[in-house]
Symmetry: C2
Subunit: 358 residues, 2 copies
């Protein structure tokens, strides 16, 4: 049976000021009229029924998730007592799900990526499930259409044999985010795909890989599993979690495990990693301006201006500028500098002005 | 006796969004902690006592003026029933004042200019008063320190003889705002001074000049004067005013009258005609950023960011940018484009969104 685990633990700092700690990017309407979490959920629901869709998130976001997803109940939230990166979170989810269904196949999905169209995604998912049932941890590797430096890459080797509707490759190596020069080489080579961060596996296969490559984590997960349904459950989860090493699933498992496959899907994927990325998803006007809310522009072009109905934003003589207002937070940022928005958050934190600004 | 008439009828559109119809630039704190009207008032008060200082303004600003100036009472407001530019407004003020004091000398001052230091201003005023008593309309002509294209110029001729502490010249001609090339020539010539728009005259001299050069206006003013203190006063003012031609004092009187003098003062003067002009008055930080309110900057320079305490403004990777937030109005403007802020107001008006945005 196929399960989905939607990872909704991101901080979304690059989407400040709309994204804040209390309501990060995945809980916001960034590209469509639905929040990114809702988009992710309804991408697999109802093909995967609500009781088999789990959401991994921090305790502080429990009520937002239940508010945004009617079909999910509190029992489907996998709450990390403390953030320990993706390996412990995915290990915990696998442990919980496999205790109910030892045959479970789990698709791990990011709550804040754009994937479309839905049909192509579901078709890729079904094929990946088949490969996962054969014992592979299956990643989704996106064919680059530009020399992106903001993604990791997967270097693929040979085609897997089997009755698949997609090309599924064995994996030679995972590659870190490259320089622009290297990214150009990757694209020319044709055997490097973007690591979308989504993957699918049999729960027992993943736990087996953790037993081999992350034995301390594995032991903790097994102790948690034994406690499930007992009065100690919550306490054991908290104890074990706080002791886990903070480590990503890529580093902890994927780069060490020998049965990794990579499916090349036919859907469009983007992690929408910054405000500037919106230009890949929204059409601007004839001056290249993407706008929402009450906005007036004079002699301006190639800009993103996102306001609200409470106020008016006037842009005069500007280009390549991002302006976002959200409540009492206003960002004015050059497009080339949107990676430095994090520095704003640092400065706010240094001033001790966390609320209502972070 | 010396009187002051402070002209506070400007719209201040170039200072949107802080300046709005209900509270234009002259009623705002732009350069100092006092409003520009307050600065203007206390530049002559108490040397000129409160009962001899009049404020010319629109009816809609009566309460702001009384709120900002404790020393002024309603009787000292000269309210124009409709805006008809400066000639009718100054004519009305002269008519009202001369009906009380036929010997009155009147200094006409703009409510939204920067003039400093105060001592130098008062000293120039006293000298100008002397020349005015000899029958001159005396302007203040500022020595250019740059080839400004945003001011009119006064071409001066010979020095007036007399016991003056300043150079006071006869005037050859008034010149419109020049091209940059012409402005350079003016500066080199040394006989061209900026027309500060302030002047001083005997009320009877001005009214005599109007009788000669603007006879229709003069007749209307005399009809108003006859009605003063009668039950018809307000009705006559309204009737006459609505019939007056809308014309500036420069065009209607100054360019035609033969006894114009120009005093070259020793004070600093600026009309602070745009947000960009703030750089002449406020010192930025070491990156050239002028800021107020809750502002965070990252990798930015040479900008003006004026926020408030209700919200935070973050500037990232920007330069030569003006950001001003005032209530629900936000401006993001390139420094080179600040003359186009008026186009924003036009667009707001076209949309019919006058309040609370204009």
């Amino acid at each position: 049976m196929l399960y989905a685990v939607i990872i909704a633990g991101g901080k979304g700092e690059r989407f400040w000021p709309r994204s804040v700690r209390a309501r990060p990017k995945q809980f916001q309407r960034i590209v469509t009229g639905r929040t990114m979490l809702q988009e992710t959920f309804y991408r697999v629901y109802p093909e995967i029924p609500g009781e088999r869709i789990f959401i991994g998130a921090g305790e502080q976001h429990r009520s937002i998730i239940l508010e945004q997803l009617d079909e999910v109940d509190g029992g489907n939230l996998i709450v990390e007592p403390v953030g320990r990166n993706t390996a412990p979170a995915i290990g915990l989810a696998s442990s919980l799900i496999s205790s109910r269904d030892p045959e479970a196949v789990i698709a791990v999905l990011s709550a804040d990526h754009v994937v479309k169209p839905r049909d192509a995604f579901l078709s890729a998912l079904r094929d990946a499930e088949k490969a996962a049932e054969q014992g592979y941890i299956v990643t989704f590797g996106i064919e680059p259409d530009r020399p992106a430096t903001e993604f990791g890459y997967i270097e693929v080797a040979e085609l897997l044999k089997g009755d698949f509707g997609h090309e599924i490759f064995t994996v030679k190596r995972f590659r870190e985010k490259p320089s622009l020069e290297l990214a150009e080489e990757y694209r020319t080579a044709g055997t490097f795909l973007w690591n979308s961060g989504m993957f699918i596996f049999r729960a027992d296969v993943l736990l087996g890989a953790m037993e081999t490559h992350m034995p301390a984590l594995y032991r903790g997960l097994m102790r948690i599993r034994t406690s499930l349904g007992t009065a100690d459950e919550q306490q054991v989860i908290e104890e074990e979690f706080s002791g886990f090493e903070s480590i990503s699933i890529d580093y902890g498992v994927m780069e060490r495990f020998d049965r990794i496959a990579c499916l090349k899907p036919r859907f469009f994927w983007d992690d929408v990693g910054s405000w500037g990325a919106l230009e890949r998803h929204l059409k601007g006007d004839d001056r290249g301006i993407i706008r929402s809310g009450n906005v007036i522009t004079v002699d301006s072009e190639k800009s993103i201006v996102l306001g609200d109905e409470e106020s008016i934003i006037a842009l005069v003589g500007m280009r390549d500028t991002i302006v976002v207002k959200e409540g009492g937070r206003i960002l004015v940022c050059h497009k080339n500098a949107d990676q430095r928005i994090k520095d704003v958050l640092k400065k706010i934190a240094e001033r001790g002005e966390n609320l209502p600004y972070l």
